[in-house]
């Protein structure tokens, strides 16, 4: 399967990032000092129990949220220094997201959902091409309600990659799918990584999925517990759960 990226160019770096949620007098430390680097073209799997801080970290990496303290660097750009408009521009230009519940616009067809992004991107691929990559060339004009869960998730992936993002962030992309459908979704992600060199960070509860990654980051209590290098990632088809 995909070889580990040869030259390890850092693309996203966090330095001692913390995130504290306050609700009334209660303070929840979702992240308690995370320092991490994501390298260009690698696939990273974030593993950890619920509440370990995976999603919070992913949201901060993707510019959906700001840390309470610490720094997040995208190449030479300090994301923590950006306001709402700056973060929007960052997401718009560089990041693709895939969520557990797809987040497709129900009133738009598969093609239109992808076009939503290509219309505002600088050098996008055609929506048809993006959908073809995830194996949905035949379902272009279907509305989300006419697609299966796996198909909807693949539309979401097509939508995420159509702008050729440098970073693809996936939060439990297979969480709502059965094993077989999950594998097809993972295959789509791996193919995109291979063909486009997109740095992909993937959150999962499912320990088996770690096998497709170049690196596995284990999180616990808002910290990185340990990092595992995987020299020979497996193809998604070889994984099952």
């Amino acid at each position: 399967m995909t070889p580990a990226p040869t030259a390890r160019l850092p693309i996203l770096t966090t330095e001692a990032v913390t995130k504290v949620y306050r609700t009334g007098a209660l303070a929840v430390h979702a992240l308690a000092g995370v320092s991490l680097t994501l390298y260009q073209s690698e696939i990273v799997v974030l593993l950890g129990a619920s509440g370990s801080g995976k999603s919070t970290l992913l949201n901060i990496l993707g510019g959906l949220d700001q840390p309470t303290s610490g720094r997040v660097m995208f190449r030479d750009q300090d994301l923590t220094a950006l306001g709402d408009a700056g973060l929007t521009a960052f997401r718009r230009a560089h990041v693709g997201f895939v969520f557990q519940f797809y987040n497709l616009v129900p009133s738009l067809t598969a093609r239109e959902n992808v076009a939503l992004v290509t219309e505002i991107a600088d050098h996008p691929m055609r929506p048809e091409e993006a959908l073809e990559r995830v194996g949905l060339a035949a379902r272009l004009d279907h509305f989300p309600s006419e697609l299966s869960g796996g198909e909807q998730q693949r539309v979401a992936i097509a939508r995420a990659i159509a702008k050729r993002p440098e970073i693809l962030l996936c939060d439990e992309p297979t969480g709502a799918l059965d094993s077989k459908t999950g594998v097809t979704v993972l295959e789509a992600l791996v193919e995109v990584n291979r063909d486009l060199g997109t740095t992909t960070a993937l959150i999962t509860h499912n320990a088996e999925i770690r096998r497709i990654a170049h690196r596995v980051i284990y999180m616990a209590d808002g910290r990185i517990a340990r990092v595992e290098e995987n020299t020979s990632p497996m193809a998604p088809a070889e994984v099952s759960w």
Binding site: T88, A89, F101, L108
Partner: protein
């Protein structure tokens, strides 16, 4: 408190802004009802009580000179209860400190005691002493406007003789609740008043000893007014009777009736719009709430609540909104009713006039309002409670979208996907779009119907003052004189041009229909006064035949070329059949116009005039006024600039205020509808819109989805509203037109544009208010919720 009732209160608190928006629209309907029907009722009851207590007459007649010996014959007419003969004439006044002449109507009081009919109300001082011929009582508004207190003196020209009169008291009369001078269009308390004088003095001043020239009658219950009038006309004809009439032609009464008609029109046209829009709004908002609470409804049913209890639960919520709207509407209606009634006291001189709407307007408006919201709610509730508990508890099926025309249109026009989202939403929920569309259209319509007031004022003012009447002043003469008066008038100071008119009361008849009106006979070549065609263009007065205002022609069923019967109510009184040769646009009054030479040819007499229209060199105005004060032939002098000023002042005071209030009401509909639609849109699409933010859409781009959908509906609604507004304006002008005023329906492009712009601005402000909430949505939280 039961748990479900607690839920009602909490739910209302959650949707307070939307509930308030609906309540305000509802309140507008209630307000207009309470205002118009309450004011109508106050005015009617006050008038009726005043008429009753002060014995307002039923029939009125005047003659040139009738012997008192006729009275027993008149009293013997079947149906006549009481007869009062009077002497009434016009006098010119010379008031201290006033350059221009004022005029007054002198009315006789019986030699002793009080009149049997039209009993004046003594407001201060006393009635004149029968033994003091110089003592007079004045109408209170005139006395107040000129600072004339009991004991004060002023000079008057009575029948050509200059006299000094002494004021003994101030009076009000049921006959002059609304007082308008001869030839005037508006009340002018400074320049026109009423003078009550004891009969011997009045008879001496007008050479009517042993005679009368004015008669009022009261009728017994069940009397036939028309036959009394006919008999009276027969008796008075030899004595210059000018046609008896009932209260329906009595000036003051007619104006009050006109006002009542207008209040009625207001009550009929406007409230239904607000009530219907409220019903739709309740349906929309409650429908959304129930959709959200679908699973809860299933749960209530599962744990054993009966369907009726659940229905009642949601109806309670609706009634909560309804009660709020009714209370606000009552409060506003009461307050405005007070203000309007106070305004009326400036024009209608009642001894008392309080806003006492009684319970009926409150009860009726309250019930109608509650009915409107309950009807709106029933449909929304019914759909939800019919579901079986198990079905209700499971989430609703996701909305189904179809490719259809929207997809084709999008592809053809290469529309952006955010625009596609808007179009699909509209085609998926056409009912909701229709509510917004018709609500906004209603708003535009109400605005067109209120802004049109300004157009109509413009047209009427321009017609009256710039096109039809270009004279600077009108001089009324005591009696008709030869045409030489036109030349004589030129010798008065500053008079540049004088054009005579012969004004005479006539009965105009066609088939079984007839009407008492004034005939204005003048020279077709007149330059100062002109008649206007349908488009407001001056047209020459035809050489022969009569020219009628459109409204009068309609009343009598007359068309161009028809023969019409005119009966002069002054000598020689003979009836003639003449041809209708012109039908014209005339907003004020129902005067019939005719070529003077043609009329006098029919009469077989040399042409005469009894009023003169003058063009004046304004520099010599004061000299002219001074001279007229001492001219015995003059019976009244009106400066048209004053008339115009008075009219404009009235418009500014009442009409513009009312128009602004109605414009605010019109805007409220848009705000209520658009705000609610946008809130629902936002609630249902929070997730979707948050997704767009994640994808890198800017706030403005996401806001577009919300704002553009509402604005698109608003833009589409505007032309619909224009059409409806035309209909509304038509209804309003018809409802507001009376015998005295016939309003032309003229809607300017500016009115259409302003109503559209106002509504667009109101819609944009409402939707931007909701858009601000979009900024507060936490993207991360919104995404965690499953669709």
């Amino acid at each position: 408190m039961r748990a479900l009732d607690r839920k009602v209160l909490r739910d209302l608190r959650t949707i307070w802004a939307q509930a308030l928006a609906i309540a305000l629209v509802l309140a507008c309907g209630v307000m207009v009802l309470v205002l118009s029907t309450g004011t109508q009722r106050s005015l009617t009851e006050t008038r009726d009580a005043y008429y009753e207590r002060h014995r307002f007459a039923d029939v009125f007649a005047s003659a040139t000179r009738a012997p008192l010996g006729l009275l027993p014959r008149i009293a013997a007419i079947d149906g006549v209860a009481q007869v009062e003969a009077r002497i009434v004439f016009t006098a010119m006044l010379d008031l201290e400190g006033m350059a221009e002449p004022a005029s007054a109507r002198v009315i006789s009081l019986p030699a002793l005691g009080e009149p049997a009919l039209n009993l004046p109300l003594l407001r201060s001082g006393r009635l004149p002493d029968p033994l003091q011929p110089d003592e007079v009582a004045l109408s209170e508004p005139f006395a107040q406007a000129n600072g004339l207190q009991p004991g004060d003196r002023f000079r008057a020209v009575l029948n050509g003789r200059l006299r000094t009169l002494v004021v003994t008291g101030h009076l009000l009369s049921p006959e002059y609740i609304y007082t308008i001078g001869p030839g005037a269009m508006m009340p002018d308390d400074t320049h026109f008043g009423l003078i009550w004088m004891r009969e011997p003095a009045a008879a001496a001043a007008s050479d009517l000893d042993g005679a009368f020239n004015d008669l009022t009658l009261s009728l017994s219950r069940g009397a036939h007014t028309e036959s009394v009038i006919a008999e009276l006309d027969r008796i008075l004809a030899p004595y210059g009777g000018t046609g008896a009439h009932g209260r329906d032609r009595q000036m003051s009464h007619v104006f009050i009736e006109g006002e009542l008609t207008q209040l009625g029109a207001m009550a009929r046209v406007l409230p239904p719009v607000f009530l219907i829009v409220s019903a739709f709004l309740v349906n929309m908002v409650l429908g959304r709430l129930i959709a959200l609470e679908r699973q809860q409804i299933g749960l209530f049913k599962a744990i054993g609540y009966a369907t009726a209890e659940i229905v009642l639960h949601y109806l309670k919520m609706t009634i909560g909104i309804g009660v709020l709207g009714v209370l606000i509407g009552w409060g506003m209606g009461w307050w405005l009713g007070h203000a309007m009634t106070t305004l009326y006291t400036e024009y209608f001189r009642f001894p008392w006039l309080d806003y006492r709407p009684g319970a009926a307007p409150l009860v009726v408006s309250g019930l109608l309002a509650l009915a409107a919201v309950v009807i709106g709610a029933v449909r929304a509730v019914a759909a939800a409670v019919r579901l079986a508990p198990a079905v209700a508890m499971s989430p609703p099926a996701p909305p189904v979208f179809r490719r259809g025309w929207v997809g084709d249109l999008g592809a053809a026009l290469a529309l952006r996907q955010t625009t596609m989202m808007i179009l699909r939403s509209l085609s998926r929920w056409p009912g909701r779009a229709a509510v917004t569309l018709f609500g906004v259209a209603g708003s535009v319509a109400v605005l067109v119907a209120s802004f049109v007031t300004f157009d109509i004022i413009d047209v009427v003012m321009e017609d009256i003052f710039d096109k039809a009447n270009r004279q600077d002043a009108t001089l009324l003469l005591h009696r008709a004189v030869g045409e030489r008066a036109e030349l004589d008038a030129l010798s008065l100071p500053g008079v540049l041009l004088a054009e005579g008119v012969y004004a005479v009361p006539i009965r105009l008849g066609h088939g079984s229909r007839s009407k008492l009106v004034s005939l204005m006979a003048r020279d077709p070549a007149a330059r100062l006064t002109r008649v206007l065609d349908d488009d407001g263009r001056p047209i020459p007065l035809p050489d022969s035949g009569v020219t009628l205002p459109e409204a009068l022609a309609d009343d009598l069923g007359l068309r161009l070329g028809d023969r019409v019967r005119i009966e002069l109510l002054a000598p020689p009184r003979a009836p003639w059949d003449v041809t209708v040769t012109g039908i014209i646009r005339q907003s004020m009054g129902q005067d019939v116009q005719m070529n003077r030479s043609a009329l006098f040819a029919l009469m077989n007499e040399a042409p005469q005039v009894n009023m003169l229209n003058l063009a004046i060199d304004m520099a010599s105005l004061s000299a002219l006024q001074a001279q007229i004060k001492e001219t015995p032939a003059a019976a009244g002098f009106t400066l048209w600039a004053d008339v115009r000023g008075a009219m404009e002042a009235t418009m500014n005071e009442s009409l513009i205020t009312m128009t602004l209030i109605f414009s605010a009401l019109g805007m409220l509909i848009t705000i209520g509808v658009v705000y609610n639609a946008a809130r629902i849109q936002l609630a249902e699409r929070a997730h979707e819109l948050a997704s767009l933010r994640v994808l890198g859409f800017r706030r403005s781009e996401v806001g577009y989805v919300l704002v553009a959908e509402q604005m698109l509906l608003t833009v589409v609604a505007v032309p619909v509203g224009w059409v409806a507004g035309y209909g509304f304006a038509r209804l309003m002008t018809q409802g507001f037109s009376t015998d005295i005023i016939s309003l032309p329906l003229m809607i300017s492009q500016a009115t259409y544009a302003q109503s559209a712009l106002t509504v667009l601005a109101a819609a944009l402000a409402s939707v931007l208010l909701v858009r601000r909430r979009l900024d507060r949505i936490d993207i991360v939280t919104a995404l965690k919720q499953k669709e």
